[in-house]
Symmetry: C2
Subunit: 349 residues, 2 copies
DNA sequence: TTGAAAGCGGTACCAA
DNA sequence: TTGGTACCGCTTTCAA
């Protein structure tokens, strides 16, 4: 059976489709009695609007600005792929993505927004670094009526519509719980992060520290090391950390920028000695996990983050559905035993 | 700028839209020269077909049969929710879901298909039990031209279009790796499953056994126990398992039907003594994980399984995109530290 | 307050 | 082999 259209309702009521439309959309200039009658009949006939017809008629198109850093590519490239995937899965509407790239998280982002001040976007996705720096800009953008969605980290108090990220606090907590199970000896553990002004990084540290105290009272925590996402700096800091005994028993690297640290550990001959938990997944990491020299990596699912972020944004722009202010994804805990399920997907990114 | 339509192409070429349509779709009755000219111009103008217009005109509707068991409800209800979510996210097309329910996995399914033999479905989703029993039926359905997608388990050699499930082998492997980290003493571990004729259950056991041998040579594996998804049977078997020493040091429960086993462990006063790894997540399990009496649960993400399965099926039916024959999702490893991210979602199911 | 009709961008059919 | 046109269901405008 064919589902009923407004025409069918109009016919059975002996009225015109214009009236049906006015009733269904609560427009003005309609007799309340007619309105009620129409609504009742529509309900009765089980009327569902035809989305295809509506979007054909309205024929809206959306311009979305996407502001992500270039580095770290193994994370932000699949994030972009996820955004594109969401666009093509979204049938019926014309979405124009305008991709903007700045050097690294929290660096050059404000300037890029300043240059784009005249752009007429319907919404933007942004990976925010230091909320204190980019917050005012995002607030300004929001005030212009552009919907802002934060991805990968958050900028609260910036009037952004929503934020999508892995739950950073829980990520840190997982690292602590895994260490508590895998390190039996008393000793110290270290953490290397990107930048503590980035909310995501600060939260990971908070979760790690708090849960280490609970789950592993035998482990004490060294002061956090900030690599500022610079490979050379990360390498030197890690080398310094490992240059005098007692070595830390474990290192939690809470940014995807882990290779320089791994190199330092390797050069000191401590692979397998020091328990390592890393963040995210990229081809170079695979062999370390396969061979058991990395205990686990916390995969932040960049593809899904991008996809979810754009889905929320589009649903808001098209249907007016307000998203949850904070969507917190669960990181995947990637071990040796389940690595194969993730390793296949990461090259496509 | 407005994206070009076939009308625009027709205008610039001084031809009619009928010709454009013939060229773009490689239909017969068109001069190859005209065809080439049109394709070139379309490419040049950056033509993209308007999905909304197409689906309005074609106005197809699809009937999808959904064959899932009633038990275990904590798994199959969210699976159904995921299917429904995929339908409503799919704009533009009328999808009619016909939900069919049989008592439990592998029980009453064949009969239900037999009763529905005259149904005109475009595609079906099915949770297959024993492939030997349901396989021929699915083959018959496929031969009738109905696209069959298996969910939660698989029925190979049944000519089904695709299957979506958690990677069962890897699930077992994860359980083995977690035991290898958490059980230091030498001893025996047990596994309780549903039904080894169900491929998913057999694969979990295979992954568990194979990886236990590799990761934890100090642990030997007791013969697998099949509960056939019957709570009372599961309880009695678990009680018997725990009634004489030495107790197993760990039990891997590879079906969602874990509560009877937990009750048996509790009554023997062995909670906290015996390491437990369960499958899936439901409200009653939360307190056990929170308190550390369950080491981990392997969450099979039923909602996403349902959603993904229907998405693949619709994309095939509408756009002819052949899905991967096997989609293997990664189970989420739910520990105490990340439980909060999952516990929130499971009541909605 | 209501009715009538145009038109969004395709597809499909009939006529030329 | 090509052109012309009706129509899918909805929104919107203009007329009554």
């Amino acid at each position: 059976m064919k589902p009923p259209s407004i025409k069918d309702i109009a016919k059975t009521l002996g009225t015109s489709i214009g009236t049906i439309d006015r009733a269904l959309h609560g427009r003005s200039d309609i007799n309340p009695a007619t309105r009620a009658k129409v609504l009742k009949k529509a309900e009765e006939m089980g009327y569902r609007p035809n989305i295809a017809a509506r979007s054909l008629k309205l024929n809206r198109r959306l311009r979305i600005g996407v502001y992500f850093p270039r580095e770290i590519a193994s994370f932000f490239n699949p994030l972009r792929s996820g955004v594109r995937a969401a666009v093509s899965a979204f049938g019926g509407i014309q979405v124009e993505l305008v991709l903007r790239t700045f050097p690294r998280l929290g660096q050059g982002d404000v300037e890029l927004f300043a240059a784009d001040i005249e752009e007429k976007f319907d919404g933007i996705l942004v990976a925010p670094g230091n909320p204190d720096h980019i917050g005012p800009t995002l607030k300004e953008v929001s005030r212009r009526g552009i919907a802002v969605v934060c991805v990968a980290s958050d900028a609260p108090h910036s009037e952004r519509l929503a934020s999508i990220a892995v739950d950073a606090y829980v990520s840190g907590a997982i690292a602590a719980e895994l260490f508590s199970r895998s390190i039996q000896k008393d000793g110290r553990v270290a953490t290397i992060t990107g930048d503590l002004t980035t909310l995501d990084h600060a939260e990971k540290l908070r979760g790690f520290a708090a849960n280490l105290a609970v789950f592993a009272p035998h482990l004490s925590l060294l002061p956090a090391i900030e690599s500022h996402e610079k490979p050379n700096l990360a390498y030197r800091q890690a080398a310094a950390l490992l240059s005098h005994k007692p070595y830390p028993l474990g290192i939690y690297i809470s940014t995807a920028n882990s290779l320089p640290v791994l190199r330092a550990v390797q050069e000191k001959g401590l692979l397998g000695e020091v328990q390592l938990i890393t963040t995210d997944l990229f081809p170079e990491l695979v062999q370390f996990i396969e061979s058991g020299r990395i205990l686990a990596t916390l995969y932040q699912r960049p593809f899904r983050q991008g996809r979810t972020a754009l889905e929320l944004l589009l649903r808001y722009l098209l249907d007016g559905v307000k998203p949850e202010p904070r969507t917190r994804l669960a990181p995947h805990i990637v071990l040796r035993s389940n690595l194969s399920l993730f390793a296949a997907g990461i090259s496509e990114a």
